[in-house]
Amino acid sequence: MTNNKILCNTGTVNLSIQDITDKIEKLEKAEEAKLKLTPDNAESGLAKLVLTLVELIRKLVEKQAMRRVDGGSLTEEEIERLGETLMKLEMKMEELKKHFNLTDRDLNINLGPLGDLM
């Protein structure tokens, strides 16, 4: 590169180190998030893929549900039922992760402009 390309770098946040750390972390996450399917790990590789998709859908459902709750259109009974459903879904997801020895980090995927799933 020709000259120094940073024209302006001001403020109180320590940019240089933090920015680099964030970028490295993101690259590491992207590397880890790749699905590595081999004959030896077909089951866990597939479980990772399926659970990532299930978790994505669960989060979307949860988000939509929160919008409805926040909108104030649900009755007391509906709120009670929704709370129960979402709680059980989350518990079931935890069970499945435990069963396949997966963590939140394993199920994380980058959704582009929407950011990371987790």
């Binding site: 024209l7 109180t12 709120i79 979402l86």
Partner: protein, 249 residues
């Protein structure tokens, strides 16, 4: 022998100047540079064996430096690293097939350069401020009046998290709106990404006329004064990497 393409540009105005500049530069693996043209548009290329092209730091920097040197003198469409074509004839056909798209894109970026603007925050500090706002919002009646159960408690916590995230995004949207208002005087073409990481809340690219660099620095300094808790980083000028909108066929 394959051809690696570095950039596409129009040579209508000053073809001698381009040839003179190419004679002073070398491509990847020190190969000679030359152009393959169709009418008034040209691709800057050099010869290379496919197996010799390694995607390492040296080659990537060489590739970027070459595009940058060309962009200082001409309006160029930077081409992605590793774009190999089997022959000059195929490049010519590609230029012919995409002639209109290339011309339109060259027109959009004519005499313009790209600047990067990143905005960083102290995530803990920002979260603390937004959490106070989110928790200050009144609860909806159907939750407040409900007799407590583990399910409503669970939902209440989820609602707090949801409101916090919404507030955070709304806060970032307000900053973006303010940035665009400040930048309006420069008449840029701009693209924004939000919440790139915990610290990097805004990652923007701006396409501005070459002579607006100092004005842009002034605007960013103004924004910095307005938001002392955030950090603004302006980089550039870059070739218009983020404003190339062509899928070459």
């Amino acid at each position: 022998m394959d051809k690696i393409i570095y950039a596409i540009l129009s040579v209508k105005e000053d073809p001698e100047k381009l040839m003179a500049q190419l004679n002073t530069m070398k491509g990847i693996l020190e190969a000679d540079l030359y152009i393959v043209s169709y009418e008034d548009i040209s691709a800057v290329v050099s010869d290379i064996n496919r197996s010799d092209l390694i995607a390492d730091k040296t080659n990537a920097l060489k590739f970027a430096e070459l595009i940058e040197n060309l962009a200082e003198q001409f309006t160029v469409i930077p081409v992605r690293f590793g774009s190999l074509v089997e022959s000059s004839d195929r490049i010519k056909k590609m230029l012919e097939r995409n002639y209109n798209k290339i011309q339109n894109n060259l027109l959009e970026i004519k005499n313009k350069v790209e600047f990067g603007l990143k905005v960083f925050c102290d995530p803990e500090k920002m979260k603390a401020e937004i959490k106070i706002k989110a928790e200050a919002e009144p609860l909806i009646e159907s939750i407040k009046s409900k007799k407590k159960s583990i399910y409503t408690d669970y939902l209440l916590n989820k609602l707090k998290e949801h409101r916090f995230e919404e507030q955070l995004l709304a806060h970032v949207d307000c900053i973006i709106l303010d940035i665009t208002t400040h930048l309006k005087q420069l008449n840029p073409i701009q693209k924004f990404k939000k919440m790139v990481s915990a610290t990097n809340i805004i990652d923007a690219v701006l396409l501005l006329e070459k002579d607006k660099k100092e004005l842009c620095i002034n605007v960013v300094n103004e924004l910095q004064n307005k938001y002392p808790d955030l950090s603004f980083m302006l980089t550039g000028p870059w070739p218009p990497y983020n404003f190339v909108d062509i899928n070459i066929k």
